[in-house]
């Protein structure tokens, strides 16, 4: 069962792995072609030294910045507020960790911890649950097409598993994988019929999974036994009725002992689900 099965969608039309490898090979070849570099006013040594910073510069100009991610989430929170799913939300100050405080009627304050793509220490390990939160969610705003979405989610959950079984005091109630790429041609969404217009763009309901709770058991949320209140709140802003919410809420399950393992089950409507077990 491949990691890609952790999420219900696949990327389309992105260059295959071998083309990416070829581009890397071309860069390496250029770095060794001192004549070519000299003609362009750069020595081979300079090229090697400047390459990491140059890649960083290209990445910076092409990938979503923290502000882009923030704008995306703010659009969704504004929509949730207009819809009546949340009363208000607080935007983190510049320099603080990007944690939003959502006031949810009859639930309390929910923390949304904004992160980039899950496959990174900063995005899946460096987070802290605020003490005011009744429920806390890690929201991966990941527009990368490097691997399929399920691959990203699976990589993030792998890191979260280590955190879950570590000595850290806090745990998450759930995880969310959703960015402005979701529902586009590059990342077609099987929930597109449930899309709502947010600031002129069709946005499908986010993929959300509940996380296990620490307990003295070898089966932790394996079949999605843990229920949380925020998933239904979030989904309601996309027209998903409360009785339907479990059909759109996935679960991450951990098993310990001799049958140690992790399961990520996504649900995207009645009769529609996919699981990845590792």
């Amino acid at each position: 069962m491949a990691a890609e099965e952790a999420a219900p969608c696949r990327h389309r039309g992105t260059p295959p792995e071998e083309v990416i490898a070829r581009v890397a090979e071309i860069i390496r070849a250029v770095s060794q072609d001192s004549d070519y570099l000299y003609k362009r006013g750069v020595s081979a040594e300079e090229f090697d030294l400047a390459l990491p910073a140059a890649i960083e510069k290209i990445r910076g100009s092409r990938s979503a910045s923290n502000n882009d991610r923030k704008d995306f989430l703010l659009g969704i929170f504004r929509h949730m507020q207009v819809w009546g799913a949340i009363e208000s939300f607080q935007v983190p100050k510049y320099g603080d960790d990007t944690v939003y405080r959502l006031r949810v009627p009859s639930v309390g304050d929910v923390a949304i911890i904004q992160k980039g793509c899950p496959d990174g220490k900063h995005s899946s390990v460096a987070w802290e649950v605020p003490d005011w939160a009744v429920e806390s969610y890690l929201w991966w705003v990941c527009p990368s097409t490097k691997g399929d979405p399920g691959w990203h989610v699976s990589a993030g959950v792998k890191r979260l598993r280590r955190e879950f079984f570590s000595n850290r005091p806090d745990t998450l109630d759930g995880i969310i994988f959703h960015s402005d790429l979701c529902g586009s041609d590059l990342r077609p969404c099987p929930k597109k019929l449930r899309s709502v217009q947010i600031e002129g763009v069709d946005v499908p309901p986010p993929c959300i999974w509940t996380m296990p709770e620490r307990a003295a058991s070898s089966d932790l949320n394996w079949s999605g036994e843990r229920t949380r209140r925020f998933p239904a709140v979030l989904l309601s802003a996309f027209g998903v009725r409360s009785e339907e919410a479990p059909l759109f809420t996935g679960n991450v399950g951990f098993r310990t002992g001799s049958r140690e393992g992790t399961i990520i089950t996504s649900r995207f409507g009645a009769g529609r689900s996919t699981s990845s077990r590792s």
Binding site: M1, R12, E18, R22, D185, P246, S258, G271
Partner: protein, 439 residues
């Protein structure tokens, strides 16, 4: 070796792309002994259509007349005008839209075949459909076409042979799949008075082989019958491995175990589960494991509330097929199987009051069968863990006994090292003491 008749820039481009692709696949129709060829994802606008394709001959003749250019497809077959006209011809052919729809829904299933300069020997229509999806409809998934790449020194004669072989293979596939062969065996078996020797002789095959084909077909008959007219024998041509393993497993099993494994296999086959994963479900509680997995998934659980065959007048065939069972038998998958059987080729199904896309539902159930198979595998590992200590101790006792038997002779030989032996005995005693302490 370079072929000077080829466009060397294109050849070089393709060679460079192959360099980073680890994928290979076998092309049985290729005439050389080494039939394994590299598979490369090529941009669909880069590959060139073959203008020598006999299936487009009459359309080419019409275009030549209309344009008044006799050598339109021969002067520069890879040039932009010839290629654009060929693309237009392929787009106008009957069934083109259906190919596009299929590619959109299922993606490219089999690689095309290109020469070393990227001219399509096989897969012209599929490549045209992908290009149309990408260029005309803006569908991003149409951007690449997976291709097997022929060697650069392939000769014109080899290419003609390949085209012929591919054509024969297509016809052979339609006429002589394992299903057709098994149907022929069944016919002979009935005609020859159920005499396997005669059947084997007529088929020029060993008795064991023809019997195996016959047994596989009996399983397939059951699944087709179960589908209530919505599935046909030809639909399961690609599932030969699953039927081979299923029929071999149930051969000497009790009726109950055979029914359990069979229904798990049938559900897996219908929902596209790989036969290697289904292997893990060759155990008496197979259908129970699958049922448990479906029951624990809130999105799929309503399937278990579907009408069971016992409650349905029209589907009592399930009893004949899977064996009679108590209506409440634990692990019974009959309700789900009958649910799929009753859909009658619909694109949507009714589930728990909602309309659900049938292919998506089947894929979701397939994912649940996959999880059940993994669960079976995990349990099997557990089983091995339970018996491991006794197994290792038994092995140790046998080896200690063998050592005692070999000791007198070893001591009488030159080179015997008594000190080394005593050190090992001390080590053994320590290991034994540690084992006893664990107890």
């Amino acid at each position: 070796m370079l072929n000077p008749a080829m466009d060397q820039d294109r050849v070089h481009h393709l060679v460079m792309r192959q360099g980073t692709s680890p994928k290979k696949a076998v092309l049985p129709a290729w005439s050389r002994p080494d039939k394994e060829l590299p598979v490369v994802a090529l941009e669909v606008e880069w590959v060139r259509f073959s203008t020598l394709n006999h299936r487009t001959k009459s359309e080419q003749m019409r275009i030549i007349t209309q344009r008044g250019i006799p050598d339109l497809f021969t002067a520069d077959p890879l040039g932009s005008q010839a290629q654009a006209e060929q693309f237009g011809i392929l787009k106008g052919q009957e069934g083109f839209e259906a190919i596009k729809e299929d590619l959109l829904e299922r993606g490219q299933q089999e690689p095309a075949v290109v020469t070393a300069e990227g001219v399509l020997i096989n897969g012209n229509r599929r490549s045209a459909a992908l290009r149309s999806l990408y260029v005309d409809d803006g569908v991003k998934s149409g951007r690449y076409v997976n291709c097997l790449v022929l060697p650069v020194d392939a000769t014109a004669a080899e290419l003609v042979d390949l085209e012929t072989e591919l054509q024969i293979a297509r016809e052979f596939k339609e006429e002589y799949t394992w299903v057709n062969e098994a149907l022929l065996i069944e016919e002979l078996f009935n005609r020859e008075g159920k005499d396997w020797k005669k059947v084997a002789s007529r088929m020029h095959k060993p008795i064991g082989d023809v019997r195996t084909q016959f047994e596989k077909l009996q399983q397939l008959h059951q699944l087709v019958e179960l589908s209530n007219g919505t599935r046909h024998h030809a639909d399961f041509v690609d599932n030969e491995s699953a039927f081979t393993e299923l029929s071999a497993y149930v051969r000497n099993k009790s009726g109950e175990e055979a029914a359990s494994v069979r229904s798990a296999y049938f559900l897996g086959i219908l929902t596209g589960v790989n036969y290697r994963d289904l292997r893990k479900l060759r155990r008496s509680d197979a259908s129970s494991l699958v049922r448990t997995e479906i029951a624990s998934n809130v999105a799929l659980a309503p399937l278990l509330g579907q009408q069971t065959p016992e409650e349905s007048d029209g589907l009592d065939i399930l009893d004949d097929v899977l064996g009679e069972k108590e209506p409440s038998a634990n692990g019974d998958l009959n309700g789900i199987l009958s649910f799929f059987a009753s859909q009658g080729g619909q694109s949507e199904a009714e589930l728990g009051g909602s309309k659900v896309s049938l292919p998506e539902l089947m894929s979701s159930v397939g994912s649940a069968v996959d999880v059940a198979a993994d669960e079976a595998s995990a349990q099997q590992q557990d089983g091995k863990a339970v018996t491991a200590p006794v197994g290792f101790v038994t092995e140790a006792i046998t080896k200690v006994a063998k050592a005692a038997k070999a000791l007198p002779k070893a001591r009488s030989l030159d080179g015997w090292k008594e000190e080394e032996y005593k050190a090992k005995i001390a080590e053994l005693k320590e290991a034994f003491a540690a084992l006893e302490a664990e107890a």
